[in-house]
């Protein structure tokens, strides 16, 4: 069920989520959006409507693991952690992203 690598938006969201989980460890969906927004200095906003389908898809693909837990505010939330497969996927997504960024930059510079 791997998605095509050139699906930029989809791939980018997956990359951001995987990276966030790799840095921060166990997180729930809301924290993931807040984290991405904060770290990117409000440059990136994760569409809520895309995040959860992406999380569920990644869970089905075995990239993340989900379990129910309690937040500091004592609310029930679903916490996600990265799996080994997820780490591998992150590496390949990072490499893809780097290639893409290089390519775009070259085009912008020389075109």
């Amino acid at each position: 069920m791997r998605r095509a690598k050139n699906d930029i938006l989809q791939g980018t969201l997956d990359l951001l989520v995987l990276k966030t989980l790799a840095r921060q460890g166990r997180m729930h969906g809301y924290a993931i959006t807040s984290h991405i927004q904060r770290v990117s200095a409000e440059q990136l906003r994760v569409e809520e409507g895309s995040l959860y389908p992406a999380l569920h898809r990644m869970e089905q693909d075995g990239l993340v693991k989900a379990e129910w837990g309690t937040t500091e505010k004592n609310r029930q939330a679903r916490f996600y952690t990265l799996t080994a497969a997820g780490k591998k996927q992150l590496e390949s997504e990072e490499a893809t992203w780097a290639r893409l960024r290089d390519g775009v930059q070259r085009v912008l510079r020389y075109a």
């Binding site: 807040s34 409507g49 129910w68």
Partner: protein, 892 residues
């Protein structure tokens, strides 16, 4: 990962809850954040939800991966679709009826094909059974001496069996009640693996020379003729006047080996001398009446068995060489070998007779189903059009397009399942009616038409396929819905009306084309049937009774037999109401035939077959009774007795071919007899040509010899009686007259008209059914066109109103609509004619007296179709022209 989906099936509802809880958590967190940023609680909640986008649709996207939820939504779709269908009853009714007729017709024909060609034999491991035959390309019968060689020889099979058909008479005196049964070898039941439901079946131990007469009856016979008597074992029954002991009733599931025939009883071969003492055909070396089947002995394959069979069979032929045959014939007899083949289905004569016709019918009903599909697709399109707003709203509210398509397909599937269910009911009745078509007055057809797995699978497959077919167009449209446009237009588009009806119109064009094909083939088959039925047969069919009598003359001397026939004929001529009567060996178009080779002085035939002549034995008055004309010479009379000069009456064709240069009367010709001898005849009369074996065949040479001069003649005699009233009314008088002449005589009656009709039953079957289905397709096409045009007019009310208001004459408006109909008709006719040209080869073989591209029929079919489509388009056109422009515009 595929298993996670499967796992989700079992925790389906939990997944759904999980998602909802998770989304709720997210919204709550966002709300808190907004509140802490200074927003009011109520506004914060709304904002949190707004930012989330469309929650239900998100849930849908998130959940879609799960099979359990898929099933759940499918069930919801089913309920929704059912509600929608209930709401528009007219649409649902027409759609289901169209489908029921289409699917029902297909199921009916398929269940016939299944029964005739596909069904396995009702025996144990039918795949192990093979046919043993002397010819590789067809099934040939063997003689009893040959069968005994196979049975006792070293054959490569687990076991072998032989069987041959026989008919007995269940009454001893008077009108016959025939019953069909089988001579069987002792190994018959054990080889097939068929047991008895009462008593026992025959075994090898029963089949010994000189055995007493005994029989195993079929379950059907036990029920219908023996009153399902529980104490039937040990009872005796009279078969053709001989008492036979019943030893058992066969397993109810076993209905015989040949599709179309269900033997009533099974008698061991060894009992043959008891039943018909005089013929002694068990020793006869050239009486071919037994079919041989064998069960393979795994792991021996068919190929291996054949390798062993060939060398073994040489001795069998040399052991059974017919001594009285010519040296040439003996040599070719010894050259024979046996083969085993898998073609058990070929056992059925019915299959050979009807498989072609059934295939044509299958093609016809498939086209009917296509027309029905187009009709339903059109109805669904119109319906989808009307629901455009509703669907647009659903899409705008976040329903995935896939979901909308699925909804439409669910609706289609519900319709086709309902249609198929009703269709199976139609098929059940229809296929039984069809079997009556296959029957003749002589042959009852028994077919197991039970709905088995194969028929069910066929019907289910057809239903799903139809649902996909007619769901395609509406789904395609739904995929392209643009909610903004659809909602804005509010269903009152004037401009896009044209593009919108592209699909609908092309469906109607397809319907017109397909129905033209069906109408044309129906016209061809009907024309052919009329041609066959109307052919000058050379005799008068109406008002003629045939009484086939057995005068019980086996003890009489040949001269006494002739005298008995002469006196009986005289007695029958005295029956009040009989205007003419005669007797003969056979009557025209009867199944029994006899041919010989003729030689005439000075005439040579290019091929030996050209000298072939059909023979009948007759009494005087035969020609006048049948309405044939004596063209020259005289009829037979008292002078033509045994011992007098051998005379013959020939038909016109024979007169032309045998005596091209002289008057035939007084001429002589010879008939070849075995061993190079021949017999000479003097022509005393010439009679008009008449059909002998088939009314499709061109005139052939025929010979009528006087029965009174043939002392060797020893079989039944057919009396022919003409009367002004209904022929069958003579029956009682004939039975009484025969009883006077031969006290134990038996007789069976037929009308010549029925005998003639039986020979063209395939033509009748095809003509009737293609006419029915052609009419059905035409009706469906008319409904389709009417619906499309009505809807088109309704949608363009505004446009038409404007035109009328601007001064267009009503006739211009209606001719505009009719112009559209004409375009549909023209395009459909062109495509249909192309289809006709492409497919006529399919029906060509069934045609008689018409050519497949007969211009008259093609033009007639197009005209008929044109009249029908214009009639269907007339109402909408009139409605358009009578539109009140003010009202129409006000509604806009």
């Amino acid at each position: 990962m595929w298993w996670s989906k499967v796992v989700n099936v079992f925790r389906g509802s939990r997944v759904s809850q999980d998602i909802e809880r998770e989304l709720a958590f997210h919204i709550a967190e966002r709300e808190d954040e907004l509140v802490s940023g200074g927003m009011a609680r109520e506004a914060a909640r709304r904002e949190a939800q707004r930012r989330f986008g469309h929650a239900p649709s998100l849930g849908e996207a998130t959940r879609d991966a799960d099979l359990a939820l898929w099933l759940d939504t499918a069930w919801r779709d089913v309920r929704y679709a059912a509600r929608g269908l209930r709401a528009s009853r007219g649409f649902t009714l027409v759609a289901i009826l169209s489908l029921a007729l289409g699917i029902g017709a297909n199921t009916a024909i398929f269940s016939l094909i299944n029964a005739v060609m596909l069904r396995d034999l009702p025996v144990k491991d039918p795949q192990e059974l093979v046919v043993v035959s002397m010819s590789e390309d067809r099934i040939s019968e063997v003689t009893n001496p040959l069968w005994e060689q196979i049975r006792d020889g070293s054959h490569p099979f687990a076991s072998v069996l032989a069987y041959g058909g026989m008919q007995v008479n269940l009454t001893d005196i008077g009108e016959e009640r025939p019953a069909d049964g089988l001579w069987v070898s002792g190994s018959f039941f054990s080889t097939l693996g068929v047991g008895a439901s009462r008593g026992r079946v025959l075994t090898a131990g029963d089949d010994v020379p000189g055995c007493p007469a005994m029989t195993v009856v079929s379950h059907g016979f036990w029920q219908s003729q023996l009153g399902a008597d529980p104490a039937v074992v040990g009872r005796t029954i009279a078969f053709s006047g001989k008492q036979i002991e019943i030893i058992g009733v066969a397993d109810p599931r076993f209905t015989g080996l040949e599709a179309g025939r269900a033997p009533a009883f099974y008698i061991p071969l060894c009992a043959q001398p008891v039943l018909s003492p005089e013929s002694g055909f068990l020793q006869h070396r050239s009486l071919w009446f037994l079919r041989v089947l064998a069960r393979l002995a795994p792991p021996t394959t068919l190929a291996q068995a054949n390798e062993m069979l060939r060398p073994a069979s040489a001795a069998w032929f040399s052991n059974t060489l017919p001594a009285n045959w010519s040296a040439e014939n003996q040599k070719s007899y010894l050259d024979n070998t046996f083969h085993a083949a898998e073609s058990l289905g070929e056992l059925s004569g019915l299959r050979g007779t009807y498989s072609g016709a059934l295939m044509v019918l299958m093609a016809i009903v498939a086209v009917v189903l296509l027309v029905a599909c187009a009709n339903v697709a059109n109805l669904m399109l119109v319906r989808a059009e009307a629901r455009q707003r509703e669907l647009a709203v659903r899409v705008a509210l976040g329903a995935g397009r896939g979901r909308v398509v699925r909804l439409l397909f669910t609706e289609g599937l519900l319709l086709s399942i309902a249609g198929a269910t009703l269709g199976i009911g139609f098929a059940y009745q229809g296929s039984r009616l069809l079997v009556r078509f296959l029957e003749t007055s002589r042959d009852r057809v028994f077919l197991d038409l039970g709905v088995d797995g194969r028929v069910l699978a066929f019907t289910a497959g057809t239903a799903v396929l139809t649902a996909l077919l007619f769901g395609l167009a509406p789904a395609w449209r739904a995929l392209r819905i643009d909610p903004q446009d659809a909602l804005k237009a509010g269903g009152r588009g004037v401009v896009e009306a044209r593009t919108r009806f592209g699909v609908g119109k092309s469906l109607v064009v397809a319907q017109v084309a397909l129905s033209l094909m069906l109408v044309t083939s129906a016209a061809l088959l009907l024309g052919s049937f009329r041609a066959v039925a109307g052919v000058d047969k050379g005799f008068e069919t109406g008002g003629l009774l045939i009484a086939e009598a057995n005068l019980r003359w086996s003890g009489l001397a040949p001269e006494a037999r002739v005298e008995l026939q002469r006196q009986t004929l005289a007695r029958l001529r005295a029956i009040p109401g009989v205007t003419a009567a005669s007797a003969s060996w056979r009557t025209p178009l009867a199944p029994s035939t006899w041919n010989d080779e003729v030689q005439a002085p000075g005439v040579t035939f290019a091929k030996p077959e050209d000298g072939m002549v059909w023979v009948n034995l007759i009494w005087d008055g035969y020609f006048s009774t049948l309405g044939m004309r004596l063209l020259a010479g005289r009829d037979y009379g008292a002078v033509d007795r045994a011992g007098a000069a051998k005379v013959a009456i020939i038909n016109e064709t024979a007169a032309k071919r045998l005596f091209p240069s002289r008057s035939p009367v007084g001429g002589t010709f010879k008939i070849a007899r075995g061993n190079g001898t021949s017999q000479s005849f003097e022509v005393v009369g010439v009679v008009s040509d008449a059909a002998y074996r088939s009314i499709r065949e061109p005139a052939a040479m025929q010979l009528f010899l006087p029965m009174a001069q043939d002392l060797e003649y020893n079989s039944g005699v057919e009396f022919t009686l003409r009367s002004p009233g209904p022929p069958m009314a003579l029956r009682t008088a004939v039975i009484a007259a025969l009883a006077e002449m031969a006290p134990r005589a038996t007789v069976s009656f037929r009308e010549l008209e029925v005998q003639v009709r039986d020979t063209i039953r395939t033509d009748r079957l095809l003509a009737t059914l293609s006419l029915f289905f052609g009419g059905l397709a035409l009706l469906l096409a008319m409904i389709g066109l009417y619906g499309t045009m009505s809807y088109s007019v309704a949608r363009r009310r505004g446009e038409i109103g404007v035109r009328l208001a601007l001064g267009a004459a009503p006739s211009q408006v209606s001719s505009g609509v009719l112009g559209e109909v004409t375009r549909v008709l023209a395009l459909g006719s062109i495509l249909g004619l192309a289809g006709v040209f492409a497919t006529t080869r399919l029906v060509e073989g069934f045609l008689f007296g018409v050519t497949p591209r007969e211009p008259f029929i093609l033009v007639g079919s197009v005209l008929l179709l044109g009249a029908a489509t214009l009639a269907a388009g007339y109402l909408p056109a009139r409605r358009a022209s009578r539109l009140n422009p003010l009202e129409a515009l006000r509604q806009e």
